[in-house]
Symmetry: C2
Subunit: 301 residues, 2 copies
Amino acid sequence: MAPAFLKTTEEYKALIDSVDTFLLDCDGVLYHGPVVVDGVKAVLSMLRKAGKKIIFVTNNATKSRRRLKETFNGLGFDATIEECFGSAYASAVYLSEVLKFPKDKKVYVFGEEGLEEELDECGIAHCGGSDSEDRHFQPPIDWTAFKPDPSVGAVLCGFDSWINYKKLAKAQTYLKNPECKLILTNTDPTYPTNGDLFPGSGSLSIPIVNASKRQPLVIGKPNKIMMDAILAHHHIDPSRALMVGDNLLTDIEFGLKSKIRTLLVMGGVTKYEQVYGDQPSPAVPDLVINSFGDLASLAVE
Amino acid sequence: MAPAFLKTTEEYKALIDSVDTFLLDCDGVLYHGPVVVDGVKAVLSMLRKAGKKIIFVTNNATKSRRRLKETFNGLGFDATIEECFGSAYASAVYLSEVLKFPKDKKVYVFGEEGLEEELDECGIAHCGGSDSEDRHFQPPIDWTAFKPDPSVGAVLCGFDSWINYKKLAKAQTYLKNPECKLILTNTDPTYPTNGDLFPGSGSLSIPIVNASKRQPLVIGKPNKIMMDAILAHHHIDPSRALMVGDNLLTDIEFGLKSKIRTLLVMGGVTKYEQVYGDQPSPAVPDLVINSFGDLASLAVE
């Protein structure tokens, strides 16, 4: 059955009354690149005043929660660190709390400072990442230089704009040890910026998956691991939570996999026909709204 | 039915009498890294004396035929350029002879000098590749710097040890034009060297495939395009040709797809059980031999 398209202030009010926690996708819901969606700031303020919990949920793996907070506050969202939940932090929480990653082992990071910062926060030892030794590489390749390090117990891959052959070859040498885990912050194939799409985390780490022939564990949306980390960390009642997003395959699927209600926001990556057309996507949201900012009509009353 | 395992000089002689052209995979058949397989030089010499045609067939995309010849002759194989057929050359031949690639268009090369050299040989204009502008890149990324160039009519991906974010992002911008083709020299996930496996061409170009969501055209073994290029270039009678290789999924599949007889060489990447075990690989060779060098017993007589 096609989902209800919310349009009236009565419908908006009924929705908000039924929700305690708003899990908000960011790009495409709250802003498009540097431009904040009309009404969003008023909605965030109204929800907080009404005692609702807000969590900004992003697959962006280059930013720590601290950096996410700075970004959001640069846009005028008055966010706290506790409200921010990126795939970098979710990965560190997963390693620390679920895997109980051993203190005498290290994580090899294919990623940037934000990912390292969250590992530090969770007390996980790491190597690679922003290490100048790995970042600066010029062929020819010294094939004898890549020797597996037995102290590396996991390879963690996020977005790494310093991708080079040395990083890929080192990751592969670690993964020759079947005990060494392969974890991806997310598999987003593209990264939306400047109104355009560029290679995303999932496309940068896929050489490591392909060459090692390993089945990776994926943390970020739409995977349940990310939701489990959020629910455990925030002690949320899932029946009173709502996942809000513009992407059927990541955001809406994320809610569906974890049995959390979903609100699809138009005006992002999803086309009307994908929901209401003759051949709709199998990822069906519970509710649809034109823009998350439309809820601001309640704040004005 | 399990393939015949050739062991006697009579069997070797019958095989050679039935073949005019030997298509030889290189690493794993003729040598292992820097070490030439026993007897191989004598076999090559015997075959040439008997008037047989020899073609060295390799997916290696970093070397032009000229460089392949140098490598083979460094191992003592007395090869000629005409005997060498790499996926770099096959790609250039495909662009020039099959695609009739327009003279006013350019190929964006994700690859190294050998690939550029073969494009030059075939009169195909190109950019990217070994251009210092693309090879030297340091974050942060200037997202506004990537603008599609309408004169680029194809992205050709081989092994590029200079892989970086700029190269990947540029490839993606060209592929936004649906007229721009995506061609891979090969999809080998790993590159065998120093008795170890490192990320191969297929793993280095997969970010471009993944981010662009395009279906690439693949040239190298086991694809028929490579065989078509060889057959057309050399005017070979396929019924009197034999593909010799150590890899079921590339070499043997390559022969099967083009209906060329195949000889599997043990001692490379294939295990005995994959051919003669309870659950053999679906890629079944016509014949099996312990080592290609074993044919040297005929030369001694």
